[in-house]
Amino acid sequence: MAQSREWTNVHAALARPEVTLTIVVLTVAIVLPFAVKSFVLFQLTLAMIYGVAILGLNLLTGFNGQFSLGHSAFFALGAYTAAIMMDHFEIAYYWTLPAAGLICLVFGFLFGLPALRLEGIYLALATFSLAVATPQILKSTPLEPWTGGVQGIVIIKPDAPFGLPLSSDQWLYFLTLAVVVLMFVCAANLIDSRTGRAIIAIRDHPIAARAMGINIAFYKSVTFGVSALYTGVAGALGAIVIQFVAPDSFTFTFAIALFVGLVVGGVGSIPGALFGGLFVLFVPNIAEQVSKGLAGAVYGVILILVIYLMPSGSAGLVRLIVSKVTRDSVQQT
């Protein structure tokens, strides 16, 4: 009996479209590295990394309602942590991920404290200042021995461990995939927990949340920290995959790109972040192919069309289609 009930659970789970979709996507993701060229693989790896960074932003903006245009700063912090650890201290690349996460968690939490006083547009400006200041701070003379100034730091691409028959591109792809799965599962669980409900309650109605005994200041700063952690880990991965960090990769345009990815992917949607990552990586390239001189304009037009088509991002569109389809099938039966 018990066993058959378990099987029904598995069947029920398989019948849910999200679960089927997740399995299909994961299978494709695992087979893909053996089918495509290494440059495409590199791009997909980067898209996943952007996905993690956007997920971090989503935890803050989408679930907690704190507006940030400064996440490129945390991405840069993670990337430089990884690069400095590998270049100056010759620490293995896999240790840099938790270290970058931890450092960003602390910095994010500390930045979250003064940010408590600010809301909406004002917070956006404060975080935007952070994004604008980052490249200048990285270039500044006192930090130059560590950051390499304008030149940045070149790091060496790691090979696949244990004699696995993988090229280093393939290995980095799988490493990133593993990190992505881990981070997304953690985020989904976090949002599903008591803490997650508190985070969402603060977004929806801060006064009611406070009345129910939620410590708003604490949760907001912690969410800032966790969000920075996600983006920092993405930054460290990005540094390892690109093998290079330089101040001008982390200008405020990158922060804005992450924000665009967040909205296009879907504010408050965890899987949407991956779609956002793909958008951020590929659409500017597509725009450039359409017209070199007018690349910015083409990108702008594509963005406007995308927002017309799906005002609440890809997640909103999927939700709309799913609700249409299920309603139809209910009517048929």
């Binding site: 400006l125 200048q136 910015g296």
Partner: protein, 292 residues
Amino acid sequence: MELFLQQVIAGLSTGGIYACMALAIVMIYQAIDQLNFAQGEMAMFSTFIAWQLLQWGLPYWVAFFLTIAISFLVGIVIERVVFKPLKSAPVLSHVVIFIALFGILNSGAGFIWDFTVKTFPNPFGTKPLFGQSVISIHDAGMIVVISILLVLLFAFFRYTRVGLAMRATAANPDSARLVGIRVGWMIALGWGMAAAIGAVAGMMIAPVVFLEPNMMLSILLYGFAGAVVGGLTSPFGAVVGGFSVGVIENLAGTFIPYVGRELKLTIALALIVAVLTVRPSGLFGRVVVTRV
């Protein structure tokens, strides 16, 4: 002391540019209740239109007012075409549209007028105002033009029916609709006015920083900073904020040793964030009270 005064005056003259931009930002914020990230690019585009008109041989002041009129119409068209269909979309989607507009205007201007730096004529002349002072006639003229603009806007919002209707629309669209205000057109009007003010700001700034598609990038940022420091609800505060950002930036670059020059932008921004943590609505801003 001499150096200090010199730097303050130099700061005031760049501050005038930021004040122009901050004013345009606050105006559109009052009309549509959103920060327009494409504001700088709209101003840049208008300035290119003015430049084109001047190239076709129109006298300066004809081109000046014609550009304001064209910008006003273009602002309304942008609202009607791009934003009206997305009225009910989430705010964050609107911000993405601003970013899209930014890209379209920036690369469009580069495509039409290319990226070479152009000089823009100066209506007031470049001689220093008195004797050897750092402040030129143009700086003074710019400040006068901004002051006139500020007074006109104040009168418009304070004493006209349309101004009142626009304020009502920004404060509470639903109630405004109920008392018979055509909310959609008020927002379009707000866009038109913001574009027109942007055009004035652009034409005042262009002789100083030269005309090219990326001219507004850093100015927009300082303008934002000035607007936020002064308080987004107060046009007067925005002008004061713009000037103080210019002065702070200049003083930080001169007097803070070692890192001052490299990090003057960073220091200015850090100061602004510090001001905001003490006074979250800016120096002159009204605290917005919402009913729950």
